[in-house]
């Protein structure tokens, strides 16, 4: 299935782009996707969001439409 992968702030530097379409299986986890597509990015330094909500790195993405790589936030 095709999923939109988003990356923000320094995660975009690590991924090499801010957005790309990826192919993955429903049983694949965000951790496995990150290791496959951006092995230089350390999941310990990022959070992941699935369809706009914080998610666990080890929960399969299921029917997700959008996965986002969330580095430490710094609004305000």
């Amino acid at each position: 299935m095709s999923v939109k992968l988003l990356a923000f702030a320094q995660a975009a530097d690590g991924l090499g782009c801010r957005e790309r379409a990826i192919d993955c299986a429903p049983e694949e986890t965000p951790r496995a996707i990150l290791a496959r597509l951006a092995p230089a990015l350390d999941p310990a330094t990022l959070r992941v969001a699935v369809d706009g909500a914080y998610a666990d790195w080890d929960t399969p993405v299921g029917a997700a439409a959008e996965i986002a790589l969330i580095p430490p936030v710094s609004g305000g």
């Binding site: 923000f8 969001a49 706009g52 909500a53 969330i70 580095p71 936030v73 609004g75």
Partner: protein, 128 residues
């Protein structure tokens, strides 16, 4: 509780005060201003980006949670995106409540929660 959450690429315009009822006794406002010095570096400004749909949803969730602990009547939240020069506001928050205690506590907690969980980022260099 009324919640108004907005992001803008333009300078923040403080909205006119609109009281949702005649029981409002406190209006607390906060503006976050971009400082010239950060980590001993002189800056011309900061660049902000957000994952807007998620940020809006997270803020609404946080405001609802805080409302349970500090009941307030309304919150207005405006965050600027893109380039913000030194001396201009990157953030405006207004909280309306019956009493100042709830409004002040809600405001302080809302900003703390935003800085911990809401997907907004600042950087010293513009990203494209």
């Amino acid at each position: 509780m009324e919640k108004h959450i907005a992001f803008t690429e333009s300078a923040i315009v403080v909205p006119a005060l609109a009281l949702p009822s005649r029981e409002i006794g406190a209006c607390v406002e906060f503006s976050g201003i971009v400082r010239e010095t950060e980590h001993d570096r002189a800056l011309a400004g900061l660049h902000y980006e957000a994952y807007e749909p998620m940020a809006t949803r997270e803020l609404a969730r946080i405001f609802d949670e805080l409302h349970a602990a500090h009941p307030c009547a309304a919150v207005v939240f405006i965050h600027r995106l893109g380039w913000v020069p030194v001396g201009e506001a990157s953030l405006f928050v207004r909280v309306l409540a019956a009493h100042r205690g709830e409004a002040l506590r809600f405001l302080a907690a809302a900003i703390d929660r935003m800085k911990a969980d809401v997907p907004i980022w600042k950087s010293v260099a513009a990203r494209t």
